[in-house]
């Protein structure tokens, strides 16, 4: 067959000019699927949230140090708090003014707290709520929140960042994105973050599976 350099538009032999096209199609498909596959963790994670979770499961993230204060206004280092007595922590992010989604997360933590206290696990697992609204969540707000949520300090604590400028770094470390919502509220990707005794984020569990989170924490 005469494979000339100019494209063959000969209607009597339509197949002759199709090879370059098929080759280009094939290359496009391979390259395109390559991009999609790598962007979605080999087709498993189409949302940023799922990507975040699978990345952490593969590669623990070491939590950098921040200065935080608790409901009593005591300042301490976050890393010291996390590594104290080799406890495993289940961390979530809150803001005390929240009226909506946080109430369900609060209920989940209350249930976790009851279970931890009932099984006497305070020495092994701790619950930590970190405020991502340090500008507004000062010790008084934390105290109110702790009372409202009926927190037992041996099982469940709440802290807030001392320096508001640390907020971005903290959120980025954990992979939390905060989106302003109407009425001064916030929408954010909420999850249960498992931190081991060496202040490393080792697992992220969906808020619909607190039991699994607890078992994971206990297995560390």
């Amino acid at each position: 067959m005469n494979k000339s350099s100019s494209p063959s538009l000969d209607p009597t032999d339509p197949a002759a000019g199709l090879l370059p096209t098929f080759a280009a199609c094939l290359i496009a498909l391979v390259v395109g699927f390559g991009f999609v596959t790598s962007a979605t963790d080999r087709g498993r994670a189409f949302t940023t949230e799922n990507l975040r979770r699978s990345e952490v499961a593969r590669q623990p993230v070491s939590i950098p140090d921040f200065t935080v204060f608790d409901a009593a206004g005591r300042k301490q280092s976050l890393r010291e708090l996390l590594t104290h007595e080799n406890r495993v922590w289940i961390v979530d992010f809150v803001y005390t003014r929240c009226q909506t989604v946080c109430s369900s997360l609060g209920t989940i933590y209350q249930q976790l707290q009851s279970e931890i206290v009932a099984r006497g696990l305070e020495g092994r697992v701790g619950l930590l709520s970190i405020s991502f609204d340090p500008a507004n969540d000062r010790p008084a707000s934390l105290r109110d929140y702790a009372l409202r949520m009926r927190m037992h300090p041996e099982a469940w604590q709440i802290v807030s960042l001392d320096q508001t400028q640390d907020r971005r770094r903290l959120l980025d470390t954990f992979g939390i994105m905060v989106v302003p919502a109407p009425l001064g509220e916030f929408e954010h990707n909420a999850a249960l973050h498992i931190i081991d005794g060496e202040a490393r984020l080792v697992h992220i569990v969906d808020t619909t599976e607190p039991g699994a989170a607890l078992e994971l924490a206990l297995s560390r």
């Binding site: 000019g17 370059p20 280009a24 496009a28 498909l29 940023t48």
Partner: protein, 179 residues
Amino acid sequence: MVGGAALSFPPLRPLIEQSMVWHMLVQMPLLVLGGWLVAGHWWTRQPPALFERFNRFGLTGFIVTTLIAGYWMIPSSIDRAVVMLGTDMAKIITLWLCGVALRHSMQRAPLLVQVFFLGYTLPMMVWLGLYYATTDLRLCNAYSLESQLAAGKALVVLGSAAGAVWLASLWQRQSQTAG
């Protein structure tokens, strides 16, 4: 096209950062449209022979278009474009190329190929729009659920409208050749 790209920069950037509708249903179509119009303008007489060789019957162009558009409909890609400027620039360039490829392909694709391609892509858009509009799950970390619902509805409208326009153009071409 310039309008589409301009949306990625201040002072207009907050529009796409806050609203998925602006991002997906305004900026992205604008970029594709930009490529479409520019291609039409450049190639008023004859597209380069090189393109012709690799895009017989518009096949390659359609595949490229579907892959590029599909990639930018993935929630994590949208998030990345909002957060990382490099990704955003890549988005602008690839969607513009998508418009160019689409124009080239539509010009030379026989009816069957068009039906195949649009019959896959447009329902996919409508399906994705319905999913975005009805799911409780917030898919993009960068956008509120409300924004997602609005974007879903708008996507359904866009997909349906594109289908209607295409069918109308076919019918018009049909009545022209018949008359």
